[in-house]
């Protein structure tokens, strides 16, 4: 497998400070890339697709940082329309293997993403007849859809939604209403300006009785002139921290009527006489919603961290500051221990999460098979996994990207570094698809239940059996090298997770009123869920490394990263490991020593390790992070393209000149 042109060592113009970093790699970058892609053939396909997209100027993101909200929105719509054309030309299909690479490159900077959610919700929640009617229209973009669940006053807690859908037997229609301002649909993407239809979640009322929240297909704009339908008030919710290109919208419904057939009815239906019928198991639907949390991790959460690491680490090899040895040139900032301590744990986390993501996908694929066979046993476990890992990975990656941003000093603050946009995007993931604190509490509830079941001698799911294996003891490590043994640190994590759960069981049982007791323990419950997820992540990293073959030095360098991820976690949460004395104070000093030693070791491979992520310069879109390391030249060139330097600002003539009152022409 030949290295792609963007990675060639011979190419002229690579900053020598970056070129030298690539000469000392302890492993084959190309082989690691193939491993990350899941095989060299996938790497080839991905690169071909990236090449096809990047060579098409319609997809260029060159001026992105200079555009207004209106321009970004229009560009996203234009790209989405062009993508349809491109896919036909290239023979790519929605269900083909290429699609994930296409969207990964686009990094979400495209319109109609909620249109895809609209289609998926109809496929999952709609009857066969509904699927047959709507999906072809949506596929052909005859209609553009959105997904309207969240309301102005209601988010994560779905039962609290206030929009109503009242069945009118006389006309066989549902009457949809937004009874008050907090009930307005708020946030749905593609809805503010683009969508013609949306799936609206509303409280269903039949004969005055409320049946809870159900989904309805509602047309919101005319198919002729795109104006809002009668009774519909719809618009854009205004500027946000990011997603300027997305028209997140609001929607108010006043006596909007939709036919009975527009309630999505795979699982339940209102019959013409008003009888409410429910059939089948909704559990599969529940499973689908659960998988969404996992499906966002790779592209929306882990990828931004990988990009941020790439930018920050390459820049840190180019940026020089102060002298480490008198008389020498100023040192690369990557040589400072404090800089390594900021960046290298983030790099290790990016790899850790890449592997946990693969593990979760395998787990969910297996779960899907079982559920297809009407075996729902694994559902609670899968739900706990998706909640806890969504919360942990989004939280960790968000803080990781911010650390990378701040590690680039002043230049990180420039939009041209690419880091602010990565940060403001990834941090949204902490909120959407379930607020993280709420999700951690769901995982905690599962852990407590399992622990109590285990105490009562009942069987519990495999991922939590460790909870019942608690044995008191002390960490056996005597030397700092002992902490490079996965058995040693895994055991420490396991003990820590067990302690944080078992500590709670007493609290919960002692509570006078159960819900009161629960609210009184939520801070510790969140900690317990985090401890569990952290432990599983370390465990999966260790198991992945064991399975790697050691050709081309890959296993060795991954082992270093795994050790770093684990020890950094202990170092940063020392109190949790010292508590109860599983680790002694002296052992904690050994952990610290071992952890700091690892920084210096991984430092040598830092640039090759981010090169292996194989981002093209265009997909990074960063003046600091390009492969050639020509940071300053690029920063200067890009700045000159800024509209502030192209246009004459009226500010001088209008305000400064009168102010300066200059009778002087020269000083």
């Amino acid at each position: 497998l030949a290295a792609p042109p963007h990675r060639s060592l011979q190419s002229d113009g690579v900053n020598p400070d970056l070129a030298s970093e690539r000469l000392t790699a302890s492993f084959s970058v190309e082989k690691l890339t193939a491993r990350l892609d899941g095989g060299a053939e996938h790497t080839r396909m991905r690169r071909a697709i990236v090449e096809a997209i990047e060579s098409d100027p319609a997809f260029s993101r060159e001026n992105q940082y200079f555009q207004s909200q209106n321009e970004r929105y229009e560009a996203a719509v234009r790209r989405a329309v062009h993508l349809q054309k491109k896919m036909r030309e290239m023979g790519w299909t929605e269900n083909g293997p290429e699609i994930k690479y296409i969207y990964r490159w686009l990094s979400g900077d495209i319109a109609f993403l909620l249109h895809r959610v609209f289609m998926r919700s109809i496929s999952v929640l709609g009857s066969d007849k509904q699927v047959a009617k709507w999906i072809p229209l949506a596929t052909e973009h005859q209609i553009i859809g959105s997904y309207a669940q969240t309301e102005l006053g209601h988010g994560t807690y779905l039962q609290g939604l206030e929009t109503t859908a009242v069945f009118d037997i006389a006309t066989q229609e549902f009457l949809l209403n937004t009874p008050k301002i907090s009930a307005m649909k708020w946030w749905p993407g593609d809805m503010g300006r683009s969508a013609t239809h949306t799936v609206v979640f509303a409280q269903l009322y039949v004969h005055g009785k409320c049946y809870g929240v159900h989904p309805f297909i509602v047309q919101i704009r005319s198919l002729q002139d795109h104006s809002p339908r009668p009774g519909v008030t719809v618009g854009d919710i205004g500027p946000k921290m990011n997603f300027e290109h997305t028209d997140n919208g609001y929607l108010m419904l006043q006596n909007v009527r939709v036919p009975r057939e527009n309630m999505l009815s795979r699982f339940c239906e209102v019959q013409p006489d008003g009888t409410y019928v429910r059939w089948g198991s909704q559990k599969i639907n529940y499973f689908t919603m659960t998988t969404v949390r996992i499906s966002i991790l790779s592209d929306e959460v882990i990828l931004p961290l990988m990009k941020a690491c790439t930018i920050a680490i390459r820049y840190s090899a180019v940026r020089r500051q102060s002298k480490l040895k008198p008389g020498e040139q100023e040192a690369k900032i990557l040589d400072y221990q404090t800089q390594q301590q900021k960046l290298l744990p983030q790099l290790a986390a990016a790899y850790a999460f890449h592997f946990i993501n693969i593990y979760l996908h395998e787990l969910f694929d297996r779960g899907y098979q079982e559920i297809q066979g009407r075996n729902f046993d694994s559902l609670p476990e899968l739900h706990a996994f998706s909640s806890g890992f969504k919360a942990m990975v989004t939280q960790y990656c968000t803080s990781g990207v911010e650390i990378c941003l701040r590690a680039c000093g002043g230049h990180g603050y420039s939009l041209l570094s690419g880091l602010p946009s990565l940060y403001t995007r990834v941090l949204a993931s902490c909120i959407y698809e379930g607020e993280n604190t709420v999700l951690f509490l769901q995982t905690a509830r599962f852990l407590i239940k399992c622990f109590m079941a285990a105490s009562a001698g009942q069987p519990i799911p495999p991922s939590v059996t460790y909870l019942s294996s608690a044995k008191p003891g002390k960490c056996p490590a005597k030397d700092k090298l002992d902490f490079l043994s996965p058995d040693v640190y895994l055991k420490a994590y396991e003990q820590m997770a067990i302690r944080s759960v078992t500590k709670l069981q007493h609290l919960i049982q002692s509570g006078a009123e159960k819900h009161e007791a629960w609210n009184q323990c939520t801070v510790q419950l969140v900690k317990a869920a985090q401890a569990h997820c952290h432990y599983i992540t370390v465990k999966i990293f260790v198991e992945t490394v064991e399975k790697l073959d050691n050709k081309a030095g890959i296993q060795k360098v991954m082992k270093h990263l795994c050790d770093l991820f684990a020890l950094h976690g202990i170092f940063s949460n020392a109190g949790d490991f010292l508590y109860d004395g599983y680790l002694s104070g002296a052992q904690m000093d050994l952990v610290t020593a071992s952890y700091l030693d690892l920084l210096a070791v991984i430092r040598m491979d830092a640039v090759p390790l981010v090169d292996a992520f194989d981002f093209t310069d265009k997909s990074l879109n960063s003046a600091l992070g390009s492969y050639d390391g020509q940071v300053y030249q690029r920063l200067y060139e890009w700045a000159q393209k800024s509209p502030t330097n192209q246009q004459v600002s009226p500010a001088y003539g209008k305000y400064l000149k009168p102010l300066l009152q200059n009778r002087l022409s020269k000083l």
């Binding site: 988010g155 307005m184 795109h226 809002p228 400072y336 939009l415 902490c430 607020e435 022409s665």
Partner: protein, 628 residues
Amino acid sequence: LRGEALVINDPDFQHEDLNFLSRSQRYEQAIRKSSLMVMKLREHGIADPDEIYWFKRTCLGPFPEPFGLHFSMFQKTLETQTTDAQKEKWLPLVRGVNIIGTYAQTEMGHGTHLRGLETTATYDPATQEFILNSPTVTSIKWWPGGLGKTSNHAIVLAQLYTQGQCKGLHAFIVPIRQLGTHEPLPGITVGDIGPKFGYDEMDNGYLKMDNFRIPRENMLMKYAQVEPDGTYVKPLNDKLTYGTMVFIRSIIVGDSARSLSRACTIAIRYSAVRHQSELKAGEPEPQILDYQTQQYKLFPLLATAYAFHFVGAYIKDTYRRISGDIIEGDLSELPELHALTAGLKAFTSWTANAGIEECRMACGGHGYSRCSGLPDIYVTFTPSCTYEGENTVMMLQTARFLVKSYTQVSSGQRVTGMVSYLNDLSRQRIQPQHVAARPVTVRINDPISLVEAYKARAARLVEAAAKNLQAELNHRKSKEDAWNRTSVDLVRASEAHCHYVIVKLFTAKLSEISNAAVRAVMTELCLLYALYGISKNTGDFLQAGILTDTQVNQVNQHVKELLAIIRPNAVALVDSFDFHDVHLGSVLGRYDGNVYENMFEWAKKSPLNKTEVHESFHKHLKPMQAKL
């Protein structure tokens, strides 16, 4: 606050919501308001610096302004570093804003490490001029505020060359734009560095100079001088610049307190308005402020905001107290204050930075909307972790002072001030164990006892870092290398020292509060601040044997109890910060709590809503549907 109302209601200061403006428009609005403000200053004859500062804050609110560096760095540097003749020439022009200036220090390739700057100023005795040059791309001046489009002068820091020798960094007054036309002068390339995370209204700029000549008199010559024949006269004392740095860092500590207070005000008020889920089955959805997890996110930050207010005031007072001594030439207290403010600048800005984000996250989805005001607070505040000294570098400066003090104590000398706890180390020397291993009886509901616990932790971490540094020095030849290999420990020691100082200052403040009810609530906040800090750093306290496992449990338990105790006063405690709605700039944080209806009103003004059907329907969507 009557004055505040006057400015806020002045129609001249009204403008469209900044969130809906492009960057160029925001810059123009800022220039308009700054110019207006200067006109009003002239009109009212306001010249006192404190009054100017207050007036500016009222006119411009918390937003950066393109004239910011003119009043702070440009004017201040001219006031302190010029000869009398230079003062006479420049100060009237500067004070009357007949010229607009900025301060150009940072270069594209060089920031915190000043000695690395590459811009050169070479003296030419034949014409009695300095020739300024930007010899490389990395030497282009980059980032100075107001440089891109606004200023016509800059103070430029450059390496001085005279008689073939480099004499190090010196400051020069450089005209950059033609008076009257505002066009760049020949030999000057100047422009805006492009869009940033925040600071949209600021024209941070670049400046490249090619053989640009300025007269000899444009070098700031109060201290060092170049005589007409090129002879260089050395300055007497270089510690004097410490004074300015202490002053600026004390402002950042104050900014940390204010920015965090604003974020807390928004998040706490909104949490009282927002309802979600159920705590008890069948009951209405509770205010999210009633959830323990929400309280745990917000109340420690509220306590932190108060703590930082007191610390900011302390530094400012101390600086005022000793600035008289500085003018008299007595610099004895400066090194400690300089070291302390470096660390506190880093500690408070890091904490506030993370705290603002925590507040935003605590507001869920709506915190992400620009209407919450939180994104703006964050992007405006976050660069303070970098400017005026990158935080990690600041922490290491404090560490240098701590290690020096430790070394003094080890060699039998006594140290004074905030580090005097290190004196106790010598008495411990007879015992073989760690200093901090001596039992500290900590009473967890007594702030004074908690100060002792923080002191013991700081002592332990300073000692550990100093010993590790010594061990590295025994192994290696290079001092710098040993320092680098200990720097993670050193930063930890500085953090612990700063944390101790803050708990100590907060605690000391309590006895000064005469009103019993206020003192009671401040005591609760002080306890929460101290205990929360312990619960987040239990490792340090356990490892040093300062606290036992049981006490850690008690600390956690007491933190939870304090959350419930503070809950009824939470909104009142943010109301006390007394931010006007206009300066808070947040729909979620409105004083009247009418959040949802005003979010809708705000959204209607979004640029995407200008027309009922967006133009991209006609340009893209319609043709796409027609084609299929």
